[in-house]
Symmetry: C2
Subunit: 235 residues, 2 copies
């Protein structure tokens, strides 16, 4: 009997690493896709950030095939990043370019991976942002990229989108995640309003194993944490 | 006394051309930005589609400066295109790449142009799509790009977005425009449900001259045409 497998896109980021470790500890084989290799995963597929969108797609799809990956229980795309800039910032466009590559290249390639490797009735998650549900004047490129991911989630939930039969797609919309990097850059923030990575890892695990624990396909799931407790809001 | 000026980004497309001719006929100096030169405009600035996002930005901003463009009444971004493809289409990602370049490169560079060249209280328009207000399973890249333009419009309406004081930004969200290309490809469609280009050209002219004719800044303005009559819906 083959071990159940999941793919974590962005598996070397703080959230991706937490998800990989969580699934490993529950007996899953974890395939990480990231710009850096993840020694805690069973298989690590590297992304060349300097190659184009279609080149990244081809390289990742080829790697999955050559490593013999067939069906997985879940595809979790948690790749992304953050950069600011309003319309008058000199780096607004270069930051928008970076945000698009980090969030939208990864989310669309995750969708392609799900088309080919997700089992029927499997789970695909993408990562949006609560802030991008409205305007984000001080972080224009970030907001556009996340808004695109939100709309992609709605597209993929359609029965004609091309995902495997019965699959569910959900975007999580965090406010702020409790990561080492965020603690480093915002040491004086109220950390009890930050969403613990374990909350998301456990949620993804539950969605993988219990179909009735999932939100409806196409849901944008806002994660709002207060006093250390995370509440979900569906959009 | 200098003639009033407007910038039409996508000035050689069917809609852009109609807008350019309309403003010309009302005594405006028209600056066209497009991949092809527009002989009916006063100044034509060319875009190299093979150059990167930041290279296009630099080249266009430099051209505007070198041609002595100072303040304009309006910046109208009507560049864009259409391509289909669901997640299982082999060209989904190459089409998403094209859609991003056509709609989002242009919209963000139009925002940069507005920061530098739009007069106080001027008008900036972007072009979204009614379809992208929800999922677009059969045209995934198109939907993401237009959703990004919608969110950009909300961002730019914020007082801290960097646009000139008192400027208004509006995105028009057409369903189908009555263009020669659409008539060619959809000869049997009901053309009385297509929005005439003159409706949009007149709307932009009115918004340029009468501030109280404009929707609130940040509005997504759906244009729905039935029996040849176009109705507006604000979102």
């Amino acid at each position: 009997l083959q071990m159940p497998s999941v793919i974590v896109y962005g598996g070397r980021g703080a959230l991706g690493h937490a998800i990989a470790l969580h699934f490993k500890s529950h007996g899953y084989r974890v395939i990480s896709i990231d710009v850096h290799s993840n020694e805690d995963s069973d298989i690590s597929i590297l992304v060349d950030v300097n190659s184009s969108w279609t080149e990244q797609e081809k390289s990742i799809m080829d790697s999955l095939s050559s490593k013999g990956i067939e069906e997985v229980e879940g595809v979790f795309c948690v790749a992304g990043g953050w950069a600011g800039g309003n319309a008058s910032s000199s780096d607004m466009i270069s930051n928008a370019d970076l945000m698009w590559k980090q969030s939208v290249f990864s989310s669309t390639i995750a969708a392609k991976i799900a088309v080919k490797h997700l089992k029927k009735g499997g789970i695909l998650t993408l990562t949006g942002a609560e802030a991008a549900r409205s305007g984000t004047a001080g972080m224009i490129g970030y907001g556009m990229a996340k808004a695109a991911v939100h709309q992609l989630t709605k597209s993929l939930a359609d029965k004609d989108a091309g995902l495997p039969e019965g699959a569910t797609v959900v975007a999580i919309l965090p406010v702020t995640l409790d990561t080492p990097m965020n603690r480093k850059w915002m040491p004086d923030a109220d950390h009890s309003t930050w969403t613990p990575l374990s909350f998301i890892a456990e949620k993804f695990h539950s969605w993988s194993e219990k179909k009735d624990s999932r939100p409806t396909s196409g849901t944008l799931l806002s994660l709002k944490t207060n006093g250390g407790i995370t509440h979900e809001e569906q959009h």
